[in-house]
Structure formats: structure tokens, C-alpha cells
Symmetry: C2
Subunit: 137 residues, 2 copies
DNA sequence: AATGACGTTTACGTTAACGTAATGCATGTG
DNA sequence: CACATGCATTACGTTAACGTAAACGTCATT
């Protein structure tokens, strides 16, 4: 089985991005699809890389950071020195991610408060009718 | 008590950003410090806003999104219509944040795998000595 | 043969988020 | 007083991450 392949516009549709974006990622060395003549042919591995890139972007990573992150997965790390430095990288990234996770949890807590305030405000705001300025009680 | 105030460079140091950045945020209407003559005087409220901006940025929000987010907290929402639309906003943002939280958790899981691989690899990689290419077993 | 749907390359344009001078005022300090 | 330090304004420069337009190739329909 040769593995399913994708055209550029298939992937663009799937991920809700433009073909320009995909070509741009290639230009930047983020993906390297095969060619069938002139046309690009994307493997499932390419597809996954794009997915990882978009995931990274959602949490505020630059494309360069995304690459770094993705590169951790492929086994180009032979000797102990490289492995050790990779482990250091992993530690750093984990710390960063945990910070961001805290950020998100704080913001979620903030949203909870806002929503609670809104709802009690709605409840006391002349419930039922809601005309003009709601005259002072 | 008039409340503590800060100079621009105090805040810059505290947050590890440049004064240029702080002035830029003002230029964009993200903060509006008082003036003492020519000099800017930052209140604690200003300080908190900066903190919130930086938190937003860490998880990949644009400055505009940060403003939107921060604005949710101040009670400029009077009538029911505004409150309801605010609640809608909150819902959307919560969904987005939850997505990003999932993204982060997935990435953390990925890091766990990578680290595990590294460590087993280190363990079997001729433990103790580590010279040249470690001849095939 | 023309139309349209897809693909390609090349190249200039755009926006966000600052960086980096250059220049000037005010204040303290040896 | 000369000089350094801190803050200010004005304005041009820069980088990332694409957008957008032009101009062309290739099939399958019509």
C-alpha cells in the first residue's frame, strides 16, 4: 500500500487554510511534499506536520518554534550528548507549556467570574420586561 | 492613600520588556497612564493591565484580542442586550481557551514520550563509557 | 476552440508588534 | 559648570506570516 496522498487544496480545505499558506510552509522548509511532475503530492506525514504546526500556532508558537518542537520527534539524535541536550530542551519546553497552561486556567477562572457577574446582573435587571433604561427602583 | 505609582522603567524592568513596548501599548490605547508634567505615572491598575496583556500574548492572543479580553472585566455593560452579547463572547472565548488547553496537554504528552525515548536510549547506549560511535553489539 | 477548475511560479504588498536612531528637556552630581 | 541619567517625542526600519495579483500550464467539459 502506497499510503494515501493529498492534493494541496484538499489539505487547505481540511485545515481551513489557504494553499498559499501551505506553499509558504514549504518555502520555509516546514514540509517537503513529493512531486508528481509539477504538482505537489502530500503524504500523511506531511498532513500530520501541518496539523502540528497549526496546533503550535494556536498556543502562540512561532513557525520556527513549531519546527523545533516537531523536530524533537524524529530520531536524528544519535549520541549521548545530543540526547542529553534534547532532554534539556524538553525540560524547558515543558516548563513553558506549564506556564501557558496556568495562564489559560487563570483566564478561564476570570471568565467564570465575568459570566457569574453577568448572570446575577441579568437576574436583578428587571427580570421579564426590559424596556428603555429600567427606571430607578 | 494615593496608591503606589510606577515609572515607565520600573514597569519595564519588572516585566522584562522595554519602555518602547510600554509606550507602544499606550499608543495603541491599551493603557492610559496619568502624567506628572511630561512624565508618565503608572497606577497599579495600569500595571495589572500590562500583566494581563503579557499573559494573553503568551498564549498567542493578539494585542487586539487582549484588549477585548480585558474589557470584559470592566463594567461598561448596562442593559440586558449588552449583557447577553457579553455572555456570548464569554462562551466563545471559553471554547477557544479549552481548545488551546487541550493543545497544550497534547503537546505535554508528546514531550513525555520524547523524554521517555531519550532516557531508555541513554540507558542502553553503552552506559558508563561513551566513546566514538559505540560499536554495534 | 473556448471555458473553467485546478495547479504552478514570481514578485510585490500588508499588518502587527515592536526596534532603533536622533534629538531634546529636566534633574542630580562630582 | 560639565556631564551623566532618565524620560520624552518623532520618525524611519525590521521581521514574521502570510495576502494578492499576474501570467502561465494542463486537463476535462461544453
Amino acid at each position: 500500500m502506497p499510503g494515501k496522498t493529498y492534493t494541496i487544496s484538499e489539505l487547505a480545505r481540511e485545515f481551513g487554510i489557504t494553499t498559499r499558506t501551505i506553499r509558504f510552509y514549504e518555502e520555509k522548509g516546514l514540509i517537503s511534499p513529493l512531486r508528481e511532475g509539477q504538482k505537489r503530492l502530500y503524504s500523511n506525514a506531511d498532513r500530520v506536520r501541518i496539523k502540528l504546526i497549526l496546533r503550535g500556532k494556536r498556543i502562540g508558537m512561532t513557525l520556527a518554534e513549531c519546527v523545533d518542537f516537531i523536530d524533537m520527534y524524529d530520531p536524528a539524535h544519535n549520541n549521548n550528548d545530543q540526547l542529553n541536550s534534547l532532554i534539556e530542551d524538553v525540560k524547558q519546553r515543558r516548563a513553558q507549556l506549564l506556564q501557558r497552561k496556568r495562564d489559560i486556567e487563570d483566564m478561564l477562572a476570570g471568565l467564570d467570574e465575568v459570566q457569574a457577574l453577568c448572570e446575577t446582573s441579568l437576574a436583578t435587571n428587571t427580570p421579564g420586561t426590559d424596556r428603555k433604561k429600567s427606571p430607578g427602583q
